[in-house]
């Protein structure tokens, strides 16, 4: 499926990765346009449910990115996020939900080029994985297909 254009949503913190992505722009480094960014004050603000909502609304891949450990603008939001993602990932793995579709990264405000790499490698990987069919099917599945009438 060569013409598949994955939809990738990036959840990033304002102070590091969002600023890093700004730097990518100022440096005119090109990357795949499949990724769209949602700005949060801090990775600590990112509710794990939002990642599921992204999949439920048709995302094929997700990037979650914030400040490197010890660099958090609020000192500890990224550490809390880290624990949250550890647990979330374990649960998703256990339920068989594909965590290869989520890139977790730390990208600082100075790492414009790295942001482009993170995006490009994620898009390439999602392209190889193809559309996230199993989650889309899950979302569209009615209770019992036999009584489906819509």
């Amino acid at each position: 499926m060569s013409d598949f254009e994955p939809k990738v949503v990036a959840f990033v913190c304002n102070w590091c990765t969002y600023a890093g992505a700004d730097l990518t722009g100022t440096s005119r480094i090109k990357y795949a346009s499949n990724v769209k960014i949602i700005r949060f004050p801090c990775t600590g603000r990112i509710d794990f449910m939002l990642l599921l909502k992204a999949f439920a609304n048709g995302a094929d891949g997700i990037i979650v990115s914030g400040c490197h450990p010890n660099d958090c603008h609020y000192t500890s939001g990224n550490f809390h996020a880290k624990r949250r993602w550890i647990m979330f990932k374990e649960l998703m793995d256990f339920m068989g939900i594909d965590m290869n579709r989520i890139t977790f990264s730390w990208v600082s405000a100075a790492e414009g080029a790295r942001w482009a790499d993170v995006v490009n490698s994620t898009v390439t990987r999602i392209r190889e994985l193809g559309p996230y069919v199993s989650y889309k099917e899950l979302v569209n599945k009615s209770v019992e297909e036999e009584v489906k009438n819509d």
Binding site: N57, V143, E144, E146, V147, N149
Partner: protein, 336 residues
């Protein structure tokens, strides 16, 4: 229509199943790996359960699905468009193997769904439904159909009622025109009925529902409710497994400009059920909700719907995680 009784042999029953599944969907009980019995669409005959006392869920799902779309909509810049559900697409279904308590529940549901206006969704589904009921040859302590005015071999709600004979053959009572139509479509499978009484289980009468109803009229403030609902944890299991509970919640779900409105099962046991926007909740505590459940089935419905809201299947009790036993409580209520 006058009931006619026929014999259908064990082997013919399988043929009848095959015959019916040729033209319609069949909704029949299947025993799962964990011994629970669940209804499934078109299971192979070999898997169909016939020895169970009760399925985990009732069969109400077939006329009142746990989620049912009401309409679809699209919000455009200036106006919204609504697309109705094409009810004529609801398929013909044969409900196979339902016990008399479950089949009798359809009438109770009708008394709710078609009380003042006719619920099209419910009615269409009932219309497309043919019921082949199985009289009970087994029962347990949770069963109390006889206390709700029914019996293990009641034909209420069935189009054909099958009752097992000692040798494993069945007598088939053809109750309705729908039943008759089946008989006519495959007369070779039916034979003349023998003069033998089928095996029917005995279900003890535990209380008089008339007396319960009478008692409830003055029991609203009775301490009974608190004492007997302390252990209730307020889940919706009893309502969801109940064949006659008909409360539902209506929701809109939108994605972008497209959305749908659907209804899904709800339960008066939930704290949220009566919560007002203001924050006020007329049923603040669980005892009030438990009282509502019993009052609704045994007092309000007889008053308003002229129908008892309970068929004595015992599911709410067997499925309750904290052993809230409804027949035990009704017995007690009779004597307060």
């Amino acid at each position: 229509m006058e009931t006619t009784r026929k014999l259908i042999r064990k082997q013919s029953l399988e043929k009848l199943y095959a015959h019916l599944s040729g033209s319609r969907k069949i909704y029949a009980p299947v025993t799962a790996a964990n011994k629970q019995v669940d209804y499934k669409y078109n299971p192979p005959y070999a898997e169909v359960a016939s020895d169970h006392i009760r399925s985990t869920l009732s069969v109400k799902n077939i006329v009142f699905p746990k989620v049912e779309n009401l309409f679809l909509f699209t919000n455009n810049r200036t106006e919204s468009t609504i697309t109705d559900i094409e009810l004529f697409k609801i398929p013909e279904v044969v409900l196979w193997g339902a016990h008399p308590c479950d089949t009798a529940a359809f009438d109770v549901l009708r008394s709710i769904f078609c009380w003042d206006t006719k619920d099209e969704f419910f009615s269409q589904r009932v219309e497309k439904l043919t019921v082949i009921g199985f009289a009970c040859h087994k029962s347990d302590d949770y069963c109390f159909c006889t206390s709700t005015g029914l019996s293990p071999d009641s034909s209420k709600g069935s189009d054909i009622l099958l009752s097992r004979l000692q040798n494993g053959d069945y007598v088939a009572d053809i109750i309705t025109e729908k039943g008759n139509a089946i008989l006519d479509s495959c007369p070779g499978l039916f034979e003349a009925a023998p003069d033998e009484k089928p095996v029917i289980t005995e279900v003890k009468v535990k209380f008089s529902h008339e007396q319960v109803t009478a008692k409830l009229a003055n029991a609203f403030e009775h301490p009974f409710w608190i004492e007997n609902s302390l252990r209730c944890i307020g889940c919706g299991a009893c309502a969801y497994v109940c064949p006659t509970c008909a409360c539902f919640d209506i929701q809109d779900e939108t994605k972008g400009k497209n959305g749908k409105r659907y209804r899904s099962w709800d339960s008066c046991g939930f704290g949220l059920f009566t919560l007002h926007t203001s924050g006020h909740n007329p049923r603040q505590v669980q005892s009030q909700r438990w009282r509502q459940r019993i009052m609704h089935k045994f007092s309000y419905m007889p008053d308003r719907n002229e129908s008892l809201g309970c068929v004595g299947c015992g599911r709410c009790s067997s499925g309750c995680p904290v052993d809230m036993n409804i027949s035990e409580q009704l017995e007690a209520l009779q004597n307060i």
